[in-house]
Amino acid sequence: MRNAPEGLRNTLLIARRQLGAVRQDGYVLFLLGLVVALGLVAALGARHHVASETEQRDRYQAMVDRQWLEQPERHPHRVIHYGFLVFREQAPLEFVDPGVSDYAGTSIYLEGHRQNTANFGEARHSTGMTRFGRLTPASVLALLLPLLVVVAGFAAVSAEREGGTLGVLLTQGATPAQILAGKVLATGAVGALATLPVALAVGVMAGPGLDSPASVTRLGVLAGIYGIYLAGWVLVTVLVSAVRTSSRSALAQLLALWVVICVATPRVAASVAGALYPLPSRAELTAQVEQALNEVGDSHRPDDPFFNALREEYLERYQVGAVEDLPVNWRGVLSRESEALTSRVFEDHRQELVKGHLRQNKVMAWSGFLSPYLAARDLSMGIAGSGPEATEAFLAQAEAHRYTIIQRLNELHIREIRNENDRAQRLSREHWGQFPVFGTEPPPLGGALADRPVSLAALGLWIGLPLTGLGLARRRLALVGTERSS
């Protein structure tokens, strides 16, 4: 009776029976078609978006690089103001999950004396229609597939009970566990059926990007995360169907659960995170930076205390009476020291802002326990390389690049430019070819997962809780069966 082959056979029989019922359900078939079509459209659309963004980025980065090399003979300080433009690269799996990319700037102008913001994020060009985000494979998988699972499975057990067939199944020798397992299997199969075409399309479209084994790994891990997330929905759906008295109330409860998890909680969490840890506005931040800059001093200002002290120090060190007699270029020294000071002010304030973001993100991560949707999306953007840490890494790398380039130009100013008639001198063009090129590395996959233990735990709980629930429901199902058959 309890031997494995028969148990498995019963489970498969139940699953087949359930699939047969689903096959006759027009709503499920319609929704299945819709989800598959949307998944394909989403993949195509997202792919188009990434391709055009990459093309633009490459075109303008090449243009900017060329302009840099083709500069005429210039004074190094002129070049400090000329600066450099860098563009953010697309994440490895950007077209599957754009994560936070739309809300982060795509280009930064790197120049001396200033730290500019990254400008022109996609969100600034959107019309405010996309309150649920763009249509991407990730949003189809995380937001819409659960609905399909709910519609395919809400009646899985309750309809058997309503139709009086549950008792029949039980008396025919199927155990409650086998019934539940069969229902889970069938509902999961519907979800898998919808996921496969989308996954295939994503795999095919990832084509060129899949040269690197790293992307293949990312895609595999991503599939695993969505698999777990959707499996959780399958288990919850069958569980609710098993414990509710009617199919109607099971459906109402599951739809309400979907609204709470996928629609309401993410926004409430974001709103609460913002209320708990408010950020200064751009205007307030700029004012703070300005004030701090006034305090550190400015070499352009007459009688600036910091730079007066610096002059004394240099005059003493080189034993000369005036800065014009220094063996190094005094304006270059001023510019270098001033850059070091102001960069620290800018960077300190930016770090404060980043700290604020991290605090808010922590609230979002813990909200994953209330909304597995949030947990899955958090992991998904981490794996895709489009999470907040990726945009932050871009900003940090851009700032490091800016500082390196500016200080190298200042060193050139100090060493290559004579003190007398400073501004009239020029550096030859071969100098421009000797600067490092900007490139970003996406955060590694291992780090992305290791940084998200809370989301991983939340997703684990999303599987664990309904499994436990089904274990308990198994006993109740047997009771219901005896009630019916007695």
């Binding site: 400008n119 600034r124 985000g133």
Partner: protein, 455 residues
């Protein structure tokens, strides 16, 4: 009439006895009051952001005037001065935040090339923005319909399945019964919506002007649309579960899929490569000028400002007139790209509003953002206002530069101040198209339902 009132009271009691309905009401009211409180906080944050820009200008000016001798060239000190361009948000913007989270409406503008200064991002945390935001518009346009669906999907089928339909029909005609059931639900939903809107209006300090009036009217019409839809579906001869699936499906299509699909099409139809183009052009246009003789720069400057063509600058020494003219050259170089950029965004905006009329809830949401002036168009209008401000500042200060005036020659109290952008259209212009779409769609849903019920 008394019988009808009793029917209504009875139905209300039946409705509120359900644990699910009570939980939904508590949740909606809770979110509504939280949303209203948050709206008030947002309005306050916006005010303090504007104030910060103004204070920072005063502080900066005081500081600069205290460290630079009065004989310093005005051009040198003005290099540092950032003039505030604060656009005070409408009070109703607290209800429909639209794109407010990503936009900056209190820029500070220096006399340097403008194009590089216009597109600064707000300090928004991308992770929060990506999760979506909760404002009262979202509550009333996206969540309230789900509550309407939850209380109305089994309007008739519930009685039929419970076996009570034939029984209650003995006591009252079908139409009156339906009217009582609808009225009780409308009262419940209306009460929730009214509390939420009143809380929002009170906590965000909203004046009841035409714009607010249109916003409330659109929310009311939108609510009526969902009732019509629910009634239309409920009149069909289907089971409760089928009704629930259909209505939930319609909600998903109208609230999630239609906007996402339209937005995707919009982005594909109207790409914006000009954003990067104008950045590159402006930088190149300005910096090239340093390697050219001043007269070349001045020539292109005089083309835009013929009134100053008599003001020549020397060829061999640095002058502030030349310096700011070089900055203007940067804006000139970026002009075509900048114009194309704005045109594409305006096209995106117009296209979105036109096609959203086929998904009335989406049209309603866009109209709320427009009425609250938190939409894309408002941001573009703001940028145009900043452009005008920058021109007026240039008109004011260039004579100082050409005359190499010292800083104490500047009459600071006569410096132009920012004139905020006026709303581009009247409240009615924003409100009428979605209102018509909502009325037509409601009629359509009801008509289809009635025909199906008769068939």
């Amino acid at each position: 009439m008394r019988a009808w009132a009793r029917l209504l009271a009875l139905d209300l009691r039946r409705l509120t006895r359900s644990a699910g309905t009570t939980a939904a009401i508590i949740l909606l009211l809770g979110l509504g009051i939280y949303g209203a409180w948050r709206a008030g906080r947002n309005a306050e944050a916006a005010r303090s952001s504007l104030a910060a820009a103004e204070t920072a200008y005063d502080d900066q000016l005081d500081f600069l005037l205290s460290v630079y001798p009065p004989t310093t060239d005005a051009g040198e000190v003005l290099y540092y001065v950032a003039f505030p361009a604060p656009q005070p948000p409408l009070p109703v913007s607290a209800l429909a935040r639209g794109r407010a989270a990503v936009e900056t409406e209190s820029l500070r503008i220096r006399l340097l090339a403008l194009e590089g200064q216009l597109y600064e991002h707000e300090t928004v945390n991308p992770r929060l923005a990506a999760a979506g935001y909760l404002d009262l518009a979202f509550l009333l346009i996206a969540l309230l319909p789900l509550f309407i669906i939850a209380v109305s999907y089994d309007l008739i089928s519930g009685e039929r399945e419970g076996g009570t339909w034939n029984l209650v029909r003995l006591f009252a005609p079908r139409r009156r019964l339906l009217a009582a059931k609808l009225a009780s639900r409308a009262m419940l939903v209306g009460a929730v919506a009214a509390v939420v809107m009143a809380a929002g209006a009170l906590m965000a300090g909203i004046d009841l002007d035409g714009r607010a009036g249109w916003m409330f009217a659109l929310v009311a019409l939108h609510t009526v649309f969902w009732f019509a839809l629910c009634l239309g579906v409920a009149m069909g001869n289907r089971s409760s579960t089928a009704n629930a699936m259909i209505l939930a499906g319609v909600w998903v299509v109208l609230t999630i899929l239609a906007p996402a699909a339209l937005s995707l099409a919009n982005a594909v139809l109207h790409p914006v490569p000009e954003a990067l183009e104008l950045t590159v052009q402006q930088r190149q246009g300005y910096h090239e000028a340093w390697d050219l003789p001043p007269s070349a720069t001045m020539e292109s400057f005089y083309r835009d400002y013929p009134e100053w063509s008599g003001q020549a600058v020397p060829e061999d020494v640095f002058t502030w007139g030349w310096y700011y003219a070089m900055n203007h050259r940067g804006d000139q170089a970026a002009r075509d790209a900048s114009r194309a950029y704005r045109e594409v965004l305006r096209e995106r905006d117009a296209w979105a509003r036109r096609w959203s009329l086929f998904a009335p809830p989406l049209a309603t949401q866009l109209a709320l953002d427009r009425l609250a002036r938190t939409d894309l168009r408002a941001q573009l209008d703001y940028q145009d206002a900043v452009r005008r401000f920058h021109e007026r500042l240039k008109d004011h200060f260039f004579p100082h530069f050409f005359a190499t005036a010292p800083i104490d020659a500047v009459a600071w109290d006569q410096v132009p101040t920012f004139e905020p952008a006026a709303p581009a259209d009247s409240a009615a212009q924003a409100g009428v198209p979605p209102a018509i779409a909502l009325i037509l769609a409601s009629g359509l849903a009801l008509g289809v339902g009635v025909r199906r019920a008769r068939a």
